[in-house]
Every structure is written in structure tokens, then in C-alpha cells.
């Protein structure tokens, strides 16, 4: 259990909150037999990296392996740049945390993980369908769906603001227990728009981004799915010029009018900042904004409630920000990498990490959705109870840009085409112009 000098010194630093920003960790173990390098996703909840570090430490000590863990932020696309660079240079970390479509994007360079998945499935059952869709290729698991960073990006709203300004009692609509309420049936995109308009009038807009980063894309994806709109269909044909897409754009035309002035330049931190600074009535985000608010603006955190996405004509779709752990084919230490992943995906470890981050990390295995953490996080008690998808929500996961073939979907996703369509509307272009632009852009992706 000895930590070499570097770590102890770091551990001793009285950095308080700053301790979260230790994104690189060397873990050396006496008599180490091998070396393993991992790129973890840098957690947005301040406590997220610490607990991960402890678990990695425990595994490294047991298995006598030197571990170098990088915590790579998704801000400024840093993780995507890293993944792309490693794939291009054919060198890099043994394990990479792959968000969303990246597993499919690099499936030819990834080591199949069937053996690990077989054992995990025998313990915990099949993962969520959307996770399977993103992780499997030709029946093989190209990466292991993880809980670390795996997130639902539904609405997180200010209880008092929605109640006072929009007459919407979200706590009553989605209380912290497994019930179907009548109010929830009326939670549609139309209701969402009405509330957005009312709150904007009161100077507290819905801070939904129209930028090109994941948060903006995922919210847009949920809206597209709710109307059954596909910009590229499963066969890879560009189908943006279609009635469901037009319906979405007609809706969006009204919504973008009431979004914040800066919505177009939003990144994944802007919406958090808007909520924490008390300037927004609602954001679409996992509970990291909540967790930071709890530290920096507690009175706002106590007024937050997380709940499912609104429904559209084709159903209710909760945006999923999936994360997988993949092992490169060119990784130096594949066997250790697989062992480590399997260890970190054990129920106890998943739960410990989940607890540390106020429930942010959703397990990919539905069987693990019985952790008590979501009911217990407070204040207010039960604020993230409805953050994981529960049967009473009558909801399904949405992965933005599906069902387009992965090699096209990843480009639509990473270039933020869906929210950019909304941004075009916002800048005064017509639906026709927007579709024409998207048509051309999407044809470019099929290159």
C-alpha cells in the first residue's frame, strides 16, 4: 500500500477544492510487474477524480502494476483531440475513455472486449440498449460501457422560478418516488416552450445552448427524436428535407427566440455557469452544475430539481451522454487494461464512485439502478431521484444523430450540426434556408 513520494506529497497538499485538479497521477507499486496508462474522463463533479484515483490505487497495489492515469477534460474538445491524435499516431494510452460515438468512430483500432463483457454480463445482466448500440460492432463489444461520466442530460430546473414564473410545479410533477403523475403526462415540448417563454419574460431564460459542444447537441438530439426526425437515415441517406425535420424546426423557431442572448456561443460550461450564477431557470445537464452550485452557491442548489425530458409526438427521449472504456489495438498492456476495466466495473466500485459524485455516474447496467444515492442526495432531498431513467418515466434513451450510420453520425455530432441548424434559425434564416444548408453540410459528411 505504499505510495511513492510524489503521491504522498500531493496527498498532503492542503488544496481543499483544488485537490480535484490533480489530473495526472502516477501510481507506483513496490515490485511492479508492468505498466498501464489510462486516459480517464476528467470529472465535472469536483470529487469525481479522487474516488477514481483511490480505486485505481487499490487495483495497482493488488496487481503490482505501475499505473499512470491522466484525467482529460472534455472542455475545448480536449478529449476528442486526444483520441483523434492517438488514433492517428497509433500510440497513446492503453485505456481511453470514449464518449458517445467515438467507439464506433475508431472501432477498427479497438481491441474487442467480448471476454470482459461476457463476465460482466453474467454478473450484472445486459447493458442498456442504447449503450449496446454504441459499443457493439458486428456482434462484438468494441468497448466496455462504463459508469464513469455516463450521464443523462435531462432538465435541471429552479423549483421556485418555474413555479412562480411559469406555474409549473416540477416537484409535484416528478416527485422523489416511483409514481406516474398526471402532471407528468402534460410534460411535453409544448409545455417546455410555454415555460421557457414565461421564464424568459421574467428575465430567467432556459439556458439551452446552441453551440457545437455535447450539451447543445444532446438537447437538440432529444428534440429531434421526440418528433421522429432523422437528418440522415440508417441507410446513410440524407433525409433532412422531410416533414418531421420541418416540424422540429418550426418548434425550434419559437424556442430559440427565448433562449439567452449568448446561446450560440455556449460550451458545456456556459449552461452550468448560467445556472450557478442564478441567471437561468433551467438547463439540460447532468448534476455537475448542481454539485458545483452546492459548493459555490448553496442557496441555488437547494432550489434545483432534475427530471425527465419533455415528450413529443414520437415519445419521450432522455439524452444520453454515454462513456465507454476502450483498449487500443496498439496498446502496450492489453491484458492489464482489461483486468483493470473489469475491476473498476464491479458493483461496489461503481457504487462508490456514484456516491462520490452525487449520483452523476449512471451505471450502464440497469440492474445497478437500485443504488440508494439518487434518493438521498440533498438539498432538496430527492433532487436527483429522477435523474436515472426509471420505468415510471415512460422514457427511452436518445443518442443524438442516431440512426445515422456511425461514421456519419460521429461527424454530425462532433460538428454540432443539429444545434447549428437551430442557431441558423436564431440568426433569422428561414426553415428552407436552414434545411438547404444542412443538406449540403450533411452531404459533405458522407464523403
Amino acid at each position: 500500500m505504499t505510495l511513492k513520494s510524489g503521491i504522498t506529497r500531493r496527498g498532503a497538499l492542503k488544496l481543499g477544492a483544488a485537490a480535484t485538479a490533480l489530473p495526472l497521477v502516477h501510481i507506483r507499486t513496490a515490485g511492479a510487474a508492468g505498466k498501464l496508462t489510462i486516459a480517464f474522463w476528467d470529472h465535472w463533479v469536483p470529487a469525481g477524480n479522487d474516488v477514481m484515483r483511490k480505486q485505481v490505487q487499490a487495483w495497482a497495489d493488488k496487481n503490482k502494476v505501475d499505473v499512470q492515469a491522466d484525467f482529460i477534460t472534455s472542455n475545448g474538445f480536449k478529449n476528442l483531440v486526444t483520441i483523434a491524435a492517438e488514433a492517428q499516431a497509433k500510440q497513446g494510452h492503453d485505456i481511453q475513455a470514449l464518449p458517445g460515438w467515438e467507439t464506433q468512430n475508431h472501432r477498427e483500432l479497438l481491441e474487442p472486449m467480448d471476454d470482459v463483457m461476457k463476465r460482466l454480463i453474467s454478473q450484472y445482466g445486459e447493458p442498456d440498449e442504447t449503450e449496446q448500440y454504441l459499443a457493439k460492432w458486428k456482434g462484438h463489444w468494441m468497448a466496455v460501457p462504463t459508469s464513469s461520466g455516463n450521464q443523462n442530460k435531462g432538465p435541471c430546473a429552479r423549483i421556485s422560478v418555474l413555479k412562480d414564473k411559469a406555474g409549473l410545479d416540477v416537484v409535484n410533477m416528478y416527485p422523489a418516488r416511483d409514481v406516474r403523475t398526471d402532471a407528468a403526462k402534460d410534460w411535453t415540448w409544448e409545455a417546455h416552450l410555454k415555460a421557457a417563454e414565461a421564464c424568459q419574460k421574467a428575465g430567467m431564460p432556459f439556458a439551452i445552448g446552441l453551440g457545437v459542444t455535447a450539451d447543445s447537441v444532446d438537447t437538440a438530439g432529444s428534440l429531434f427524436h421526440a418528433y421522429g426526425a432523422e437528418v440522415v437515415n440508417a441507410k446513410g441517406e440524407v433525409t433532412v428535407d422531410s416533414d418531421p425535420v420541418r416540424q422540429v424546426l418550426e418548434y425550434a423557431e419559437r424556442l430559440v427566440k427565448v433562449l439567452p442572448a449568448d446561446a450560440v456561443s455556449y460550451d458545456d460550461a456556459s449552461n452550468n455557469r448560467a445556472l450557478i450564477s442564478g441567471k437561468a431557470a433551467m438547463i439540460w445537464n447532468p448534476p455537475s452544475a448542481y454539485a458545483v452550485a452546492k459548493r459555490d452557491a448553496p442557496q441555488i442548489a437547494a432550489d434545483c430539481w432534475t427530471f425527465p425530458a419533455p415528450a413529443g409526438p414520437k415519445g419521450r427521449f432522455m439524452p444520453l451522454g454515454a462513456f465507454m472504456w476502450g483498449v487500443w489495438k496498439f496498446a502496450a498492456n492489453k491484458s492489464a487494461a482489461k483486468e483493470m476495466i473489469e475491476y473498476l466495473m464491479q458493483r461496489d466500485n461503481v457504487e462508490a464512485r456514484c456516491n462520490a459524485v452525487d449520483g452523476y455516474d449512471l451505471p450502464p447496467f440497469p440492474k445497478m439502478l437500485d443504488f440508494p444515492v439518487w434518493a438521498n442526495v440533498e438539498p432538496p432531498k430527492g433532487t436527483v431521484f429522477n435523474y436515472p431513467m426509471r420505468p415510471v418515466h415512460d422514457s427511452q434513451h436518445s443518442i443524438a444523430c442516431s440512426p445515422a450510420p456511425p461514421e456519419i453520425a460521429v461527424q454530425i455530432y462532433n460538428r454540432g450540426t443539429l444545434p447549428t441548424m437551430f442557431a441558423k434559425l436564431r440568426s433569422g434564416q428561414s426553415i428552407k434556408q436552414t434545411i438547404a444548408w444542412a443538406q449540403e453540410e450533411l452531404e459533405g459528411f458522407t464523403r
Binding site: 510524489g6 500531493r10 497538499l13 488544496l15 477544492a17 483544488a18 480535484t20 485538479a21 490533480l22 489530473p23 495526472l24 476528467d42 470529472h43 465535472w44 463533479v45 469536483p46 491522466d70 484525467f71 482529460i72 477534460t73 472534455s74 472542455n75 475545448g76 480536449k78 483531440v81 486526444t82 491524435a85 492517438e86 492517428q88 499516431a89 497509433k90 500510440q91 497513446g92 458545456d268 460550461a269 452550468n272 455557469r273 450557478i276 450564477s277 455537475s288 458545483v292 459555490d296 452557491a297
Partner: protein
């Protein structure tokens, strides 16, 4: 008579008035210049000022958004202390220092040797080369970073901080060579003839005469090489991603800007610390700095 006197008086008066008005005109022009300069200085210093102010605030103060954001109401150095103790920041800083030192040394050796050769000795094609050196500035880093990515990948140097020691000299050497050619050319030819007669070789001549005489030029070129490699952004952005391989410019932007939204005090403190070395050097060696900047102009 009387009319003549009045005329003469009138002429003298106008002349006096004229000179007085000229003088006052000059004085007003001077005041006007100062006033305009003050306005410009304020505009130019707003971002650094705000950066310093933010670096003195706590996260709580930034997020509270109460009161005037342009001043730190409860100034604290805690951001700086935490930063200096933070291992990532230490990595960034040490890497930046290491790479900058190597780049400056390598660049200066290459460009002083080459400038001496091109300005004084010459060989077949040397004048073409002198022109060619300058033209390399027309091939900016933003054109080269993609092929260099492939080349560095082939050499196995992606995500290795030493790859910067390889590519940074291309940013500094052409201009340093240019500065040095200018300085070496201005040294009188009689000096080397005298040295040759005394039996000195070329290398001795370079070391014993040219380098000491052209010291101001060398200092100017060194400052230039330092500034360029300390502040370069695109190459590390494209080629480095691990924390322990990162340098300051990119490290602060891509690794301190995190999901955790109120690190801004620390980010600004980091940016103050990163800007400090060039600013300090500049404060002490401003004249060399400016000589380096303008050497292209005054000669051309």
C-alpha cells in the same frame, strides 16, 4: 511717420501674437498627445489589469457577482499559492522552462553560425540561402502543423514534450538569423582583415570578435527566441495532451479550464505567472527588445 510706426508696431504685434499662438498651439498639441496617450494606455492595459484583479479573487467572490467586478474586494494570494503547490502547474512550468532554454540555445547557435557564414564568408548559393531563410516566414506554423503531425507521429514523438525542441527552432531561427546578418554586416570589414593578418581562423574570429561586438544583436535575438518559444501555442496544442508533457500556454487553457466552473481565479493567476517571465525580461531589456523588433525595419 506716425502711420509708419503704427504699421511697424502692428507688424511686431502680429508677429508676437503669431509666435505666442504658435507656442500655445504646440503646448496644446503636447497636452493633446498626452491625453490621447493616456486613453490608449488605459485601453491597452485593461485586459492585463482585469486578469491580475481576477487572479486576486476567491472563487466565492467571482461566483457571487456582487459589486464591481473590476476590483478585488478581498484580495488574496491563495490562488497563486495553490497554483505553485499544484503538481500540474509545476509540470507545465518546468516543461516550458526546459523547452525554452533548449530552443533558445539551439536557435542561437544555429543562427549565429549561419549569419556569420552568410554575412561574411559566403559560399556557392549563399545569397540565395539568405533570401530563402527569410522566405521561410511565409510558410507559417498553421500550414505546417498537419504534415509535421504525421512526421512527428512517424518519429514516435507525439505527446512527447521534446518534440517541441525539434519544431520550435523553425519559429525562431529565421528571424534570429536575419537580425544577426544585419548586425554582422555592420561590423567594419577592416576588423576581420586585421584578425586574419594576426593569424586568427574564422571560428576564432567569430568567437573573439564578432560575437562580442554584436552582443546587442545577440541579446535582441535571444529575447526574440525566448518570447517565441515561451508563447507558442499551436504546436503544443496539436501535439501534446498528457499533463506531464504539457507546457504552460496550452496547459493553462486546456487543463485548468475544466468543468469545475469557478477555477477562474486560478486560471487568471496561472496566466499572470505565465506572462511574468517575458514581461520581466522586457522590463529590464526593453531597448534590446525594441532593437530586435525594429531591426528588420531600420535596415530595410
Amino acid at each position: 511717420m506716425s502711420s509708419a510706426t503704427t504699421t511697424a508696431n502692428a507688424v511686431a504685434a502680429t508677429r508676437r501674437r503669431h509666435t505666442r499662438s504658435l507656442a500655445s498651439q504646440r503646448r496644446w498639441a503636447l497636452y493633446g498627445s498626452y491625453a490621447a496617450l493616456v486613453v490608449f494606455v488605459i485601453m491597452f492595459l485593461i485586459p492585463p489589469f482585469y486578469t491580475v484583479m481576477t487572479s486576486l479573487k476567491t472563487s466565492a467572490e467571482i461566483s457571487a457577482q456582487s459589486g464591481n467586478p473590476w476590483f478585488a474586494h478581498n484580495p488574496t494570494l491563495s490562488n497563486f499559492i495553490e497554483l505553485i503547490e499544484m503538481p500540474d502547474f509545476q509540470y507545465f512550468f518546468m516543461n516550458s522552462v526546459m523547452i525554452t532554454v533548449v530552443t533558445v540555445v539551439v536557435s542561437m547557435v544555429i543562427s549565429v553560425m549561419a549569419a556569420f557564414s552568410l554575412a561574411r564568408m559566403g559560399f556557392w548559393g549563399s545569397s540565395t540561402l539568405a533570401t530563402g531563410v527569410f522566405l521561410t516566414y511565409l510558410v507559417p506554423a498553421s500550414l505546417l502543423f498537419i504534415p509535421l503531425f504525421q512526421i512527428l507521429g512517424f518519429l514516435g514523438l507525439i505527446n512527447n514534450v521534446w518534440c517541441l525542441a525539434l519544431v520550435y527552432p523553425t519559429l525562431a531561427v529565421p528571424f534570429c538569423t536575419w537580425i544577426m546578418i544585419g548586425y554582422f554586416s555592420s561590423i567594419p570589414k577592416e576588423l576581420d582583415e586585421a584578425a586574419l593578418i594576426d593569424g586568427a581562423g574564422y571560428v576564432q574570429m567569430l568567437l573573439k570578435i564578432f560575437i562580442p561586438v554584436a552582443m546587442p544583436g545577440i541579446i535582441a535575438a535571444t529575447i526574440f527566441a525566448f518570447t517565441v518559444s515561451w508563447g507558442a501555442f499551436l504546436y503544443p496544442m496539436a501535439y501534446l495532451y498528457s499533463m506531464d508533457q504539457m507546457v504552460l500556454t496550452v496547459g493553462i487553457i486546456s487543463d485548468l479550464v475544466r468543468g469545475d466552473v469557478f477555477q477562474w481565479g486560478k486560471i487568471m493567476a496561472a496566466s499572470v505567472l505565465a506572462a511574468a517571465p517575458p514581461v520581466i525580461i522586457y522590463a529590464f531589456l526593453m531597448d534590446y527588445y525594441i532593437a530586435g523588433l525594429t531591426s528588420g525595419a531600420t535596415k530595410g
